[in-house]
């Protein structure tokens, strides 16, 4: 996409979400916040999954760890926003370490390894009861304020995280790092042969894919006020985020966020209107999309406006 339309659609998109309180009730605002949250998760995934082409399924691990680190910090008296920052940094460090080990795997094996991380995190958090409360979960101090104010506040926080992840995406896309990641995606051996430090680059991408997830997780924990291992480390979340990114267009700048918005809205519609069959209908939509829009929603633009694509 050319810079101008890109920035324009980015600003318009964020503005539509940010303006939710002006045109909708709390439920709409909440949906906007959820869209922003999933948008941030899918955009994060894009660093490792879209740019680098590593099928990572670690999103839920980063999200859950972010939630737990944030919760633990807050419970020991750290102010909320500081707790979120600590969670992001700590999980990023964790991802960097883990990435160093896990990214030696390729293809399916990497996919499996990254899924195993989610399950392991869940099992460890749930058996380390002395710290995490185990299956009891953790309560967080409820944030004070009217529901409307709170909802707006969390919408704004999620939007900031989304905006930050998109901004970093744009920066990476134009930099050496982005170029190197795309090379790795295409052909890792060849990338190493032209001098790309593949390990460092992959770890960087993996870490970037963690940091915003952790921030979103920590924020989400403060928002709901209660977390437990089963809900924090859900394989379903992980897969959903990947589907969102693919739906929008993996490897593009705005695609994952757009995919997230589309997915969340579809989910809302189906699930409000088809109580018994919402899951199946969503599944059907996924199947249909795979067949008719394999390049994601963004490829639609190219199809509808030949020549309009950049």
């Amino acid at each position: 996409m050319k810079p101008l339309p890109l920035y324009a659609s980015l600003v318009v998109g964020l503005a539509i979400l940010a303006a939710a309180p002006l045109y909708g009730d709390n439920y709409v605002v909440r949906t906007a916040a959820i869209v922003a949250m999933y948008g941030a998760l899918a955009t994060s995934w894009n660093f490792i999954g879209g740019f680098t082409g590593y099928p990572s399924f670690s999103t839920a691990a980063f999200f859950g760890l972010g939630a737990y680190v944030g919760a633990l910090c807050q419970r020991s008296g750290v102010p909320m926003v500081v707790a979120w920052a600590i969670a992001s940094v700590a999980v990023a460090a964790f991802a960097a370490l883990l990435g160093g080990i896990l990214l030696r795997l390729r293809g399916h094996y990497f996919a499996i390894g990254s899924i195993a991380v989610v399950e392991l995190c869940r099992l460890i958090v749930s058996s380390w009861s002395s710290l995490t409360g185990g299956g009891d979960g953790l309560n967080l101090p409820l944030v004070q304020g009217t529901p409307e104010d709170l909802m707006r506040f969390f919408l704004m926080v999620m939007l900031v995280i989304l905006a930050a992840s998109l901004l970093v995406t744009i920066l990476v896309d134009r930099s050496r790092l982005g170029f190197g990641l795309r090379c790795i995606h295409q052909n890792e051996d060849a990338a190493a042969m032209v001098g790309v430090n593949t390990t460092a680059y992959k770890v960087a991408a993996y870490t970037l894919s963690a940091v915003f997830c952790a921030a979103a997780g920590a924020t989400y924990a403060s928002w709901t006020g209660y977390i437990d291992p089963t809900d924090s480390f859900q394989i379903v979340l992980t897969v959903k985020v990947v589907v969102m990114a693919l739906l929008g267009g993996a490897g593009t700048i705005l695609g994952p966020a757009i995919g997230a918005a589309a997915f969340v809205l579809l989910e809302e519609v189906f699930w409000a209107n088809f109580i018994d069959w919402n899951r199946a209908i969503l599944g059907l939509v996924i199947v249909v999309l795979i067949f008719f829009l394999p390049g994601g929603l963004l490829s639609l633009r190219r199809r509808l406006m030949p020549g309009g694509a950049a």
Binding site: L102, H108, I112, I115, R279, A280, P294
Partner: protein, 287 residues
């Protein structure tokens, strides 16, 4: 001492079931390069078919085994032929997302028609005592069936020309076509075999574990672990992987408590992924 023997036996019996559950998944992954997210639901579907046949008509699970196997083969064959084949050469993420979507549909349908109530077949066959160890007969039967099925599949893969064709297609699709092998049909057969083995595992499981849609994810997770531990795409791989996982869970459960049993399984898998990505008995190049 007795407790170790018992733990060993528990582990082996569990392991054989794991092998049976994973072998179809492993084959589909290895040959078609498709991570079949439907596998867990296939197992449960097999279980439900068996349960309702038993519950409504009193048909014994052993009789249902070939019936379920045939039905599931047909279902798998049709799914592959009609849908999955169309994107079979797309990247991992595409096929994974597709089977994930299909799984959502199947899962939803099963929950709708069968409800989430856990079902179980009680055969009440008693137990055999061998000195200090106790062997539950229905589990023993299940273990035996699981092993038999796995070995049968091994024989087919090893000795028959279909088996050779499956391996050939897995390694080089184009060259396989030149041997006169119809790859789309082999794909469908392989996916059918995957579904068949899942269904057969479901029949065996219905007599041992509760059958409910909630557990599809758990079984799918086990299949993953077994594949990685044993090595992808080969029957002996699934067998070794299953037995090892069963033993690890059993002994870890005994030594460190049940809370650590599953953790140990996943840790084992991670360690193996990093040190021996081809799995314990995997062949180089099978990845």
């Amino acid at each position: 001492m007795a407790i170790y023997l018992q733990t060993l036996v528990n582990g082996l019996m569990l392991g054989a079931l794991y092998a049976c559950l994973a072998v179809g998944f492993s084959l589909v992954w290895g040959v078609l390069n498709v991570i079949n997210m439907l596998h867990g639901s296939f197992i449960i579907l097999g279980g439900y078919l068996t349960y309702f046949a038993w519950h409504a008509y009193g048909i014994h699970p052993v009789i249902m085994l070939p019936v379920v196997a045939a039905l599931m083969f047909a279902l798998g064959f049709a799914l592959q032929r009609g849908l999955i084949n169309k994107v079979v050469s797309a990247p991992v993420l595409t096929t994974l997302t597709l089977t994930f979507g299909l799984d959502m549909i199947l899962y939803n349908a099963m929950t709708y028609f069968f409800t989430a109530t856990p079902r179980r077949i009680t055969l009440d066959l008693g137990a055999i005592s061998l000195g200090p160890i106790t062997l539950p007969v229905d589990r023993l039967l299940g273990t035996g069936l699981a092993l038999l099925l796995t070995l049968l599949l091994y024989a087919v893969m090893r000795g028959s020309s279909i088996g050779r064709a499956i391996v050939a297609v897995r390694m080089d699709r184009m060259a396989a076509e030149l041997m006169g092998i119809r790859t789309d049909r082999i794909y469908a057969i392989t996916f059918g075999i995957g579904a068949l083995m899942a269904g057969a595992a479901g029949v065996v499981f219905a007599t041992i574990f509760p059958i409910t849609t909630n557990v599809t994810g758990i079984w799918l997770g086990k299949a993953f672990v077994v594949c990685v531990v044993g090595g992808l795409g080969s029957v002996p791989g699934a067998l070794v992987g299953g037995l090892v996982l069963g033993l690890v869970e059993s002994f870890a459960g005994h030594w460190f408590g049940p809370q650590q049993a599953m953790t140990a399984g996943f840790l084992l898998m991670l360690v193996l992924l990093l040190t021996r990505p081809t799995g314990l008995v995997g062949v180089k190049g099978y990845e």
